[in-house]
Symmetry: C2
Subunit: 484 residues, 2 copies
C-alpha cells in the first residue's frame, strides 16, 4: 500500500475546520457494548450520540447465541436451584482466563454480575427460569440457564464450585437477536441521538493527545463532531479483516466459519491503536470445536495427529477448539465405538472406521501402534471410570470396544465459530491504555474492540457479558469525565 | 498510572520550539542493527547521527553468542565443504518461521545473505573456516561454522537440504563482543556523529504524520534534533520491561534467565507504536531449552506432565523451549538411562531416578502407567532406530534400559536464555508499517525493536542476522528518502 493511501485513523484538532455538531459522549457502534455504553452514559446525565455504520443496530451480537456469562448468585441461578457466589465465580475465571488473567477486571465483573443481570431484566430482556441440562452452550429450547464453560470439567471443578452461568434470553435457538432488539430499542429510546449508516472515519486529538471528537462519514460526506467528554469505541473485532488476521492472528485463518458482522473489520481497534492504545492478545480467538450435542459424544476420545490425547473431552468446546488449533496444529479426531456413537447435531464427517483399532489407526494414517497404545491405556483406566491424564468426569469415561469410527475434527474441515478475542487494552472504566499503562484522555472502548477477559480460556457469554458490563462502565466513566 | 504521567513517545512538530541540530538520518541505538544502519546510511551518502543511551555501543548483541544466521553458499560454508543455495535456505526458513512467514523478507534475506557475509568480512570480522560438529549453537572453540537451527531435524531435513548456517566470529565461547567491537568501531569511524549517554525520548511528527526528528535527552537536558530523511529505531527488545512482558508476553515471565541489556525496555517499540506502527508477534520469545551439549543427550526422551512425548529431541533447543513453554505449560523432563546419561554442560537438576520405569514415573509424579506406556512404545520402535511420532534421527533413537533418571527441564527451574521476538512490523526496507500495512513516512526500524523473521520457529543467529541485514537496508532506504 502506498504511504499516501494510508487511512488516517487520527486527525489533529488543528486539521478540523469546524465542528458540525457536538455532544458529551460519542459512541461508535451500536452492538451490545455500544448500546450498554449509551444507556449508562445517558443515565449518568450525559448528552450522547451513537453512530452505527450499518443500517441499524445489533451488530455481531444480534447474530450470536445470546448467552450472557453472569453469576455470583443471580435471581435466575437461584430460581433454577443453583447456588453461586462472587468468590466461586472469581475463582473459576481467574483459573480459566489464560496465563495472565486481568484480576482487577475479573473482580469487578464478578462483583457487579448480579446487579447486571437485574439491569438486563429491568430493560425487558426475558429469561425463563428453567435450567437446560443437555448441552453446554446455547440451548435449542427457550430455557434460560446453561453451562457455557468448563465449570464442571477438570481442573476447574476442583478449583471452584461449579454453577451454570450462561444466561440466555427466552427464545428458541439463537437468542442474540432478542437481546439486541431489547438493548437497541432501549438505547434508541433513551434520548441519545442515534445515527445509522454513519461511519466513524477517524478520532480527533488535540495537542495534548486528548481525544476530543471524531470525523464521521455519511452519504459520502465527512463531518466532524466534537465530543466534550469522550469517545467510546465499540466497533467490534477484526475477524473480517483479512490483512489484520494475517498480521496478528494467522492461525485463525484456518477456521472457515467466521462469526462476525461486516463491521468486524477492526476499524475500532485500528483507531484506538492510532491514538496510542495498546492492542493485546491479538493472536487469540474464540475457536469452538463443538463435538456436542449430544453430550454422550464426550465419551469419545479426542486424539491428535500422533494418536495422543490432548484434552479432557468434557471441557467446554471453546477449550477443545483452542487446544486443537493452537497446540495440535489443527488436527483432531474423535474416536468412538458403537455404544458411544450417535449422530452429532453439528454435522461432521466420518474420518475413518475400523473393525479393530489397528484398522482405524491405519484409516486415519496415524503412526503405527500409536492409537492402539493410546486406546489400551485409556480403556485400562476407563474400566474404573478414571482418566489419569486429563481427569475427564467418570460419567463420560467408559472403555471403547470394537468396531470403531472417528469423526473429523480437523481445522481445515470442521472447526466452527471463530471470532477474534484480542483488542484494545482497557482498564475497569473502559479507558484505553497505552503500552505504558497510561490512560488516553477522552478515549474509551468496550466489547470486542477490546481484548476479552478470557483469551485464551474462553467461556461462552463472556463477549456479551464483558461487552455490556464494561460497556456500561465506560459509558458512566465518559459521562462523568470533565469536559475537554 | 495517572494519565498526566504518561510518557509522550511522540511530540507534535508544533511543540518543538527550536531544533538544536539536524542530520539526514537519526539512528536510535548502537547495537548490531544501529551499527549496520549507520554504516549503510553513511555509505549511501547521508549525514548520520547515532544516539546510544548507554555509555558505549554494543547493546545486547555484544552479550550474545555472536552467531549470525547466513547461507545460500557463503565463502565460509564453501570453505568448510558445505553446499548451500538461496533456494534451500529459503525453503528451510519458510518452513520453520511460524505459521505466517514473511515471504518477502525471507526472500530478500536469503538472496542477500552471501553478500552480507562478505560485508562482515570486509569490515574485519574474522571467521575461521572450520566447522564445529559437536553442538548446535555457539561453539566453545573459535571455529566459524555451526548448525544453529533445526536444519538436520525432522521435518525440515526432508523439506530442505540441510546446511550449517551459524556463522561465528573467531573467538572462543561467546563471540558477540567481537562482532560488536568491529561493528561499533566501523560505525564510529564512518563519519557518523555518535552520541553516547544520550537517550531518545520521543519522536517528532509533523501535521502530515511524518516523522521529522526526535527529542533527545543527555545530562538531564532535552534537545530536539531534526532528521531530514528519517529516524531509524534500533533500540532492542522489551525483555527488561516487566509491564510490557505482563501485558504482551506473560508466558515469558516464567523463564528466569533473561538475555538483554538494560536498554531492552521496549522504548523503541513503544515509540514506534505511538507513531502509529503495528507491533506483531508480541507474545513470542526465543526460549532456549539447551538439553545439549553434549549431543548424546538427544538420545533421551523428553516428556510432558502427562508422560507424553511432544517433540523430536534433536530439534534445535530453541524449538524445544518453545514447545515446552507455549504448548506444554512449561513442564518437561528428559528421561535417560545409564548408557545415554552424561553430565550436561548446562547445569541441570536430576528430577527423579528409578531402578525401573515404574519407579521413575512415580518419582516424577506422572499419571500411573503413562510413562511406562510411552517408553514401551518408544523402545519398540527405537530398537529399529525409528521414531514414528516425531521422526527423530536414527543416530539418537535407541532403546532406553533400566535403571533410569530424568533431568529437570521445567520452565520454573531450568529454561534458559529468553528474549523477546515480537516488535514493530516492517517491510523489506525497514519502513515501519501501520496496522493497515501503510508505511509511516520517515520512520524505520530494525533489530529486536522489530518482529523477528522467526517467531515462533527461532534459529540462532536470526537476530544478529535480521538486525544487521535489515538494519543496512533501513539505513540505505532512509539515506535515499527525499528530505522532509
Amino acid at each position: 500500500m502506498d504511504a499516501t493511501a494510508a487511512p488516517q485513523h487520527v486527525r489533529a484538532l488543528s486539521e478540523i475546520e469546524r465542528w458540525a455538531g457536538e455532544t458529551d459522549v460519542l459512541v461508535v457502534g451500536l452492538g451490545c457494548a455500544g448500546a450498554a455504553a449509551t444507556l449508562d452514559a445517558v443515565a449518568a446525565g450525559a448528552e450522547v450520540m451513537v453512530v452505527e455504520r450499518a443500517g441499524g443496530g445489533g451488530g455481531t451480537s444480534s447474530m450470536s447465541g445470546g448467552v450472557v456469562y453472569l453469576g455470583g448468585g443471580t435471581a435466575l441461578q437461584r430460581a433454577c436451584g443453583f447456588e453461586d457466589s462472587v468468590e466461586e465465580m472469581f475463582k473459576y475465571l481467574m483459573a480459566s482466563c489464560g496465563p495472565a488473567p486481568d484480576e482487577a477486571k475479573i473482580r469487578v465483573y464478578c462483583e457487579e454480575s448480579v446487579a447486571h443481570y437485574e439491569w438486563l431484566v429491568g430493560l425487558g430482556v426475558p429469561f425463563k427460569a428453567v435450567f437446560y441440562p443437555h448441552y453446554s452452550g446455547e440451548p435449542p429450547t427457550d430455557d434460560g440457564l446453561v453451562y457455557s464453560g468448563s465449570e464442571e470439567a477438570h481442573p476447574y471443578c476442583e478449583i471452584a464450585v461449579p454453577a451454570p452461568r450462561g444466561h440466555v434470553p427466552q427464545t428458541t435457538n439463537q437468542a442474540g437477536w432478542l437481546l439486541m432488539q431489547t438493548l437497541v430499542a432501549a438505547a434508541t429510546g433513551s434520548g441519545a441521538e442515534v445515527r445509522v449508516d454513519t461511519r466513524c472515519q477517524a478520532l480527533v486529538m488535540d495537542a495534548t493527545r486528548t481525544v476530543v471528537g471524531a470525523v464521521l462519514r455519511c452519504g459520502g460526506e465527512e463531518t466532524a463532531i466534537r465530543a466534550r467528554r469522550g469517545v467510546i469505541l465499540t466497533a467490534g473485532g477484526f475477524i473480517n479483516n483479512k490483512q489484520m488476521l494475517r498480521t496478528y492472528a494467522p492461525l485463525l485463518r484456518q477456521c472457515k466459519f467466521r462469526v462476525g458482522a461486516e463491521g468486524d473489520d477492526g476499524s475500532g481497534v485500528r483507531m484506538g491503536m492510532a491514538a496510542g492504545g495498546a492492542a493485546i492478545n491479538m493472536s487469540m480467538g474464540s475457536v469452538s470445536l463443538p463435538i456436542i450435542p449430544p453430550k454422550t459424544l464426550q465419551k469419545g476420545m479426542l486424539v491428535n495427529a500422533r494418536g495422543q490425547r490432548f484434552v479432557n473431552e468434557d471441557a467446554y468446546y471453546g477449550v477443545l477448539g483452542e487446544q486443537a488449533l493452537y497446540h495440535q496444529d489443527g488436527v483432531a479426531y474423535l474416536v468412538l465405538d458403537a455404544d458411544t456413537f450417535v449422530k452429532p447435531e453439528v454435522a461432521r464427517d466420518v474420518a475413518g472406521t475400523g473393525e479393530t483399532i489397528e484398522e482405524l489407526e491405519a484409516a486415519l494414517a496415524l503412526p503405527h501402534g500409536a492409537l492402539v497404545d493410546t486406546l489400551a491405556f485409556y480403556n485400562r483406566h476407563a474400566a474404573r471410570g478414571e482418566d489419569p491424564l486429563f481427569g475427564k468426569a467418570p460419567t463420560y469415561t467408559v472403555p471403547l470396544r470394537p468396531p470403531y469410527g472417528a469423526l473429523d475434527c480437523r481445522t481445515a474441515s470442521s472447526l466452527y465459530a471463530v471470532f477474534t478475542l484480542g483488542g484494545l487494552w482497557t482498564n475497569i472504566d473502559g479507558e484505553v491504555l497505552t503500552p505504558d499503562g497510561a490512560a488516553i484522555p477522552g478515549l474509551y472502548a468496550a466489547g470486542r474492540t477490546t481484548a476479552c477477559l478470557a483469551a485464551p480460556g474462553y467461556s461462552s457469554g463472556l463477549s456479551l457479558g464483558d461487552g455490556t458490563l464494561f460497556g456500561r462502565r465506560a459509558g458512566r466513566a465518559a459521562a462523568t469525565r470533565p469536559t475537554s
